[in-house]
């Protein structure tokens, strides 16, 4: 198990941006490998620039290396120039920390944040010298695990993985380490042994212990366990209290440019705004806030340690954080931190939020981003993004009057029940924003960013038949034409062809395995990169395997139809989601449950945990058009801490 560095350094001069492959970040850990320790290689199957900042991977990296029975290193997908060189030289995929061969680890754990990276998972396995099919692997090969949001429907990947892990990773990685270290101590017996042991851990889905039934026409009839160790339903993991997990403690500071190159401090996890298109908001419930004091400490210590001059307070809706005002004030007024800028990656649409933004962006007031998501009030009721026009225009007015010159607005198209009037409402809204802006600034402009809607598992829209590529293309065309006539409105859009493949993988079942393999074998890697994405590879592969986009992507699902992820659970009751889907079609909104009584979605009750919210009232100015205001929130009891779990924590056998 020696370092591959001497071989690598001879060839790194041949590739673009070689600093992506050297490691050496501040915060990097050089772990001491040992036969008693489970050795994890945490892999983000996209480029270093995209993967390095991923907080989930960094959290697990630290937690595992703190354990006496585990070590963890990192790897990212090598760009195509390096993978060609590695194959030419007969060199394998390697870790960045000690430049050790991927095949020397016990676990290859992939972070799956987006569907289009699936073929990169195969590419990484192949570069590692590991059979891409799980069935072809022996005890000498590492275990292949996946986690992250995409693991809530791992069915398209079951041919390639040993296990998928659902939910928060902080606790479950330790339980997995115990199982893997024991397997290693026994000299790595048959893979079935470790599969059975892993299936005993809550949150771990081991596909080899399940079988899929299909009806005569080939449709999925359900996935069921075929081994006594495998639960009927695999429940996600949820940590009760973020305060117990102040990670990453030593955020990695890369030596070369990456996206989000700044300090990141997670202020809360989960979101109960209830936007029906948003998978993250559904699967990460309930809301668990980090105490404001801990946030302040993590910000101050992090800035001092890293030398960054920017900190992002991350969450799914940071303006909702109870301590937002004080944390922001303290950070920007702390002299020890120097000239620091704070960024709030997900701004709520209201004047209060703009006020906060004004406080933190004293310099560099170039652009501010809001996400109204839909162009008409009717459409926003359908998706439960209950922002009134007044909210948006108030926020925009506030932004332009305080010196911002450009506002960026995010929208989705291809939403359920969307008419052309709804679509074109996007440009109407943008035009009104420009008009407001020009009252304050001559050159005010609005950038409209359009994404094609992709329905996701465990959301109320999981039954919705995605718009066809032609339909999405037509809608983008409508928007482009309208924008061309609108002064000061620029428009950007996501490739509608990529949305089709995202939709295919997002809600597909295990019949897609051969399709993914086919695309990869034909050179389809880095499909999330415009220069590499190739719809034809997917269309051809689907045709070769007798499958249609119509059936897997565009078709509305029935209420009684088996969904590929029915044997997994994100805590949400299926009947709650179905009711919310019916409400969506009836244009009925649903309020944020942080400050009103529970409507029993299942996320809290199922796991004996509750929202951890420091404030008993919604944040000031928290209008989302739902009539939520302090007057509605005050009387509701709000838990300040988690209840103990109903059962003792389970530990893997």
């Amino acid at each position: 198990m020696s370092s591959l560095w001497p071989e690598l350094e001879r060839v790194l001069g041949e590739v673009q941006k070689p600093a992506r492959y050297i490691g050496c970040e501040d915060g990097m850990i050089i772990p001491a490998h040992h036969p008693d320790k489970a050795a994890w290689l945490l892999i983000y199957p996209d480029t270093y620039e995209v993967g390095l900042p991923n907080q989930g991977l960094q959290i697990l990296y630290e937690i595992l290396n703190e354990r006496p029975d585990a070590v963890a290193e990192r790897s990212y997908a090598p760009w195509t120039d390096l993978s060609a060189v590695l194959r030419r030289e007969g060199l394998p995929l390697f870790s960045l920390d000690t430049h050790r061969a991927a095949g020397d680890f016990d676990v290859l754990a992939f972070n799956l944040s987006a569907e289009l990276v699936y073929t990169n998972l195969l590419e990484c396995l192949d570069l590692a010298g590991i059979p891409i099919l799980a069935a072809d692997r022996g005890p000498e090969h590492p275990l292949v695990l996946v986690g992250g949001h995409c693991s809530y429907n791992p069915e398209p990947l079951v041919d390639f993985i040993d296990a998928a892990v659902l939910g928060d990773g902080e606790e479950v990685v330790s339980e997995i380490s115990v199982v893997v270290a024991a397997w290693k101590a026994e000299g790595r017996t048959a893979r079935e042994d470790v599969h059975v042991a892993l299936a005993g851990i809550t949150g771990v889905y081991v596909p080899s212990l399940y079988t899929a039934d299909h009806s005569e026409d080939g449709a999925l009839a359900g996935v069921r366990p075929v081994h006594p160790a495998a639960p009927e339903k695999v429940e996600k993991r949820t940590i009760a209290d973020l305060a117990e997990w102040p990670y990453p403690k030593n955020q990695l500071v890369p030596l070369t440019e990456v996206v989000h190159d700044r300090l990141n401090v997670e202020v809360f996890r989960g979101c109960t705004r209830g936007c029906r298109f948003c998978q993250a908001g559904m699967i990460t419930r309930p809301v668990r806030e980090r105490p404001a004091d801990q946030v302040r400490t993590m910000v101050a210590d992090g800035l001092r340690r890293t030398g960054y001059d920017e900190v992002a307070l991350t969450s799914l809706s940071t303006a909702d954080f109870s301590g937002i005002q004080e944390v922001v004030e303290d950070t920007v007024s702390d002299d020890a931190c120097g000239q620091v800028s704070v960024s709030l990656p997900s701004l709520r649409v209201d004047a209060f939020t703009v006020g906060i933004a004004a406080q933190i962006q004293r310099a560099r007031r170039t652009g501010l981003t809001f996400a109204p998501e839909a162009g008409t009030w009717r459409m926003r009721q359908v998706i439960n993004k209950l922002i009134s026009e007044e909210d948006l225009y108030g926020a925009v007015e506030s932004a332009f009057s305080q010196g911002w010159r450009r506002v960026k607005l995010y929208f989705l198209t291809g939403l359920p029940t969307e008419t052309d009037e709804d679509t074109l409402g996007i440009i109407e809204m943008a035009k009104n924003c420009v008009e407001i802006g020009r009252r304050h600034q001559k050159g005010a402009s609005v950038t409209v960013s359009i994404g094609g809607f992709v329905p996701k598992p465990f959301t109320p829209f999981q039954w919705f038949g995605q718009n066809t590529e032609q339909e999405l293309h037509r809608k983008v065309g409508l928007l482009r034409d309208a924008a061309r006539k609108a002064r000061g409105v620029q428009i950007k859009w996501h490739d509608t062809r990529a949305s089709v493949v995202e939709g295919l993988l997002s809600r597909g079942d295990r019949r897609l395995g051969p399709v993914i393999e086919d695309v990869w074998r034909n050179g389809g890697v880095f499909q999330e990169w415009g220069e590499h994405f190739d719809l034809e590879l997917w269309t051809d592969a689907m045709a070769r395997h007798g499958m249609s986009f119509e059936d897997h992507v565009y078709r509305h699902r029935h209420e009684d139809e088996a969904l590929p992820w029915d044997h997994l659970s994100a805590g949400l009751h299926k009947d709650f989601l179905w009711q919310d889907w019916r409400d969506a079609l009836d244009e009925v909104g649903l309020e944020d449950c942080r400050w009103i009584p529970c409507y029993d979605c299942g996320a809290c009750t199922g796991y004996g945990i509750e929202h951890v919210v420091a404030s008993a009232v919604p944040p000031a100015g928290g209008s989302q058009g739902t009539g939520q205001g302090p007057e509605h929130g005050g009387g509701v009891p709000v838990a300040l801490s988690a209840r103990p779990p109903r059962e003792p924590a389970e530990v893997g056998s």
Binding site: E9, L12, P18, G23, V253, R305, G307, A363
Partner: protein, 275 residues
């Protein structure tokens, strides 16, 4: 009326090992963060997006090592005066910087920057390079080197602003020395000019000589390249030289050249205010 400017310091550092694969821009970011971490009161530009006033010397090609890189830092006069960095209990600045810089980047010396006017990039006129030659024995490299030195012109093509440009780089080759014993690899020490443009060692190794028999001068390739020193002209020398003749100066002559900051410079007296 004389305006008292901000004090400036010159930092000399080395770059070796894995970090040699970082780019010039990467190194700039690394320095910005390191200077913030040691809380050095760097001066910032005015305006909409204030930037720290740091000047970076001649770019080192990604993948090359160096025993002599330079960085100029302008300090905020008011904040700097209230600090006594040299005698602070936290130890001297060089030590503190080395604690926060990544492995492979090491501060060798720090001193107040006195030379005004010209930027470091303009002042440096040549570099000494240590090149480990790949796949050739010392006799072959000797033949190659004498071929280069005897050539009247060496035409090198490169892309500049999207256009192909051909330069004669022969005037930039000041000296070539070959050393090394059999089996130990061949070391080529080259002093190459940087004005009006810097000649990269690999450009020279890959150069094809016109007019000589091509077979005796196949291009060479390098296993590793290290910038050993950067050279400026001695000030007395410089005042006698016109801009044109400056480039022709025998930079190989020891008494004509000087390093911007020698490795032996003692701990920096940082906040020396000018009389």
């Amino acid at each position: 009326m004389s305006v008292v400017g901000n004090p400036k310091i010159l930092v000399r550092f080395s770059k070796a090992g894995k970090v040699r694969f970082t780019s010039h821009r990467d190194v700039a970011r690394i320095w910005e963060r390191a200077l913030r971490r040691v809380a050095l009161p760097v001066a910032y530009s005015e305006g909409f997006s204030p930037r720290p006033k740091i000047s970076y010397g001649l770019a080192l090609p990604t993948g090359y090592e160096s025993a002599g890189e330079y960085l100029g830092v302008e300090l905020d006069r008011e904040k700097a005066e209230s600090l006594q960095l040299r005698d602070s209990p936290e130890g001297d600045l060089r030590e503190r910087l080395n604690q926060v810089l990544p492995e492979g980047i090491r501060v060798q010396a720090i001193a107040p920057l006195e030379r005004g006017g010209e930027s470091l990039q303009q002042a440096v006129i040549a570099c000494t390079w240590a090149i480990e030659v790949d796949g050739a024995d010392s006799a072959e490299v000797e033949v190659w080197a004498s071929g280069i030195l005897e050539a009247e012109e060496i035409l090198v093509e490169r892309e500049r602003k999207g256009k192909k440009v051909t330069d004669d780089v022969r005037p930039l080759v000041h000296s070539l020395d070959v050393s090394g014993s059999p089996g130990d690899g061949v070391q080529l020490t080259a002093v190459l000019g940087t004005q009006p443009r810097a000649l990269r060692p690999t450009e020279l190794l890959e150069a094809r000589l016109e007019g000589t028999s091509g077979s005796t001068h196949p291009p060479l390739s390098a296993l590793s390249v290290c910038r050993m020193k950067q050279w400026m002209l001695r000030e007395s020398q410089e005042s006698q030289e016109s801009q044109e003749s400056r480039n022709q100066t025998k930079i190989t002559q020891g008494d004509a050249r000087v390093e911007p900051l020698s490795v032996d410079a003692g701990p920096a007296a940082l906040v020396e205010t000018r009389a």
